[in-house]
């Protein structure tokens, strides 16, 4: 599961470099998130820009990641695809996560962190 983290003092952007978070990789996703969360800043943004699809197992793994970080730290989502947005809306998780729809809202942050 290819996840990459970029951390500044107050924020970690985790980029999912996969097209799916589904039942076939949900455990790997959760394990990798657990590793990355150890070093993560107070605010963690999961960049889903490359993810086309998540199923309920993938969503469960994202929720589990949020719970790993709580209560001191928060997990936010960025750049959900239309399919991911639909899953979040139908499961009402869109009211649980802060979701950044606009790539530009995170991209400057990510590139600043990478620079």
């Amino acid at each position: 599961m290819d996840l990459q983290a970029n951390t500044s003092t107050d924020c970690t952007v985790i980029t999912v470099r996969e097209t799916r978070i589904d039942a076939a990789c949900a455990i790997q996703f959760k394990d990798r998130m657990r590793e990355l969360c150890k070093e993560a800043a107070e605010r963690v943004i999961l960049d889903l820009g490359r993810v086309d699809f998540i199923d309920s197992s993938g969503l469960g793994a994202i929720v589990a990641s949020m719970k790993m970080l709580a209560p001191e730290r928060v997990l936010e989502l960025a750049n959900p695809s239309p399919k991911v947005t639909k899953v979040l809306r139908l499961t009402r998780m869109d009211s649980v996560f802060t979701i950044h729809e606009d790539f530009a809202s995170v991209e400057p942050l990510a590139s600043r962190l990478a620079g």
Partner: protein
């Protein structure tokens, strides 16, 4: 986009059903979904309707793998998807265990107001299926689970 040979999507577009049989395995489900979405792509559906197809089939197939067939070896899943005037008629059959109580789970929505530590990590599957599929019917026959439903793809979900 015109295709001169019987490529992906030709069956559905010509009113014929797509049939697949796969082993009960998460990677096989992923491959089957890719194949189905390739077939469905030629129907030129809106992105939202494509999402409906992939979400419902993913959840139905994952349920079979993770519940009906969990821990059982050599189980198979058969999928039939047929075009209808308004969308798709789907049937999924497997030779796993019957549904508990022989009935479909309710799929109650999780309570987003609950505090983070109590927030459920599962139970989203039936919520998605019930929210998107129409005419859900389950029966157990000849040692097989048979789930059928339709997907309305020409109106807003």
């Amino acid at each position: 986009m015109m295709q001169s040979t019987l490529g992906p999507g030709q069956r559905l577009r010509n009113g014929k059903a797509v049939e697949l049989e796969i082993p009960s395995d998460p990677l096989a489900v992923r491959q089957a979904l890719a194949r189905i979405m390739e077939e469905v792509s030629a129907l030129a559906l809106a992105v939202d309707a494509q999402a409906t197809v992939e979400i419902v089939l993913a959840e139905v197939l994952n349920n079979v793998v993770e519940h009906a067939c969990a821990g059982l070896s050599g189980r198979r899943i058969a999928i039939t998807i047929a075009p209808t005037p308004t969308g798709l008629q789907c049937q999924v059959r497997d030779n796993g265990r019957p549904l508990p109580d022989g009935a479909l789970p309710a799929g109650d929505p999780p309570d987003p107001a609950c505090r983070t530590p109590e927030l459920a990590e599962g139970g989203f599957g039936w919520l998605l299926i019930r929210g998107l599929a129409r005419g859900l019917r389950y029966r157990r026959t000849g040692g097989m689970n048979v789930l059928s439903f339709s997907l309305d793809l020409h109106t807003a979900a």
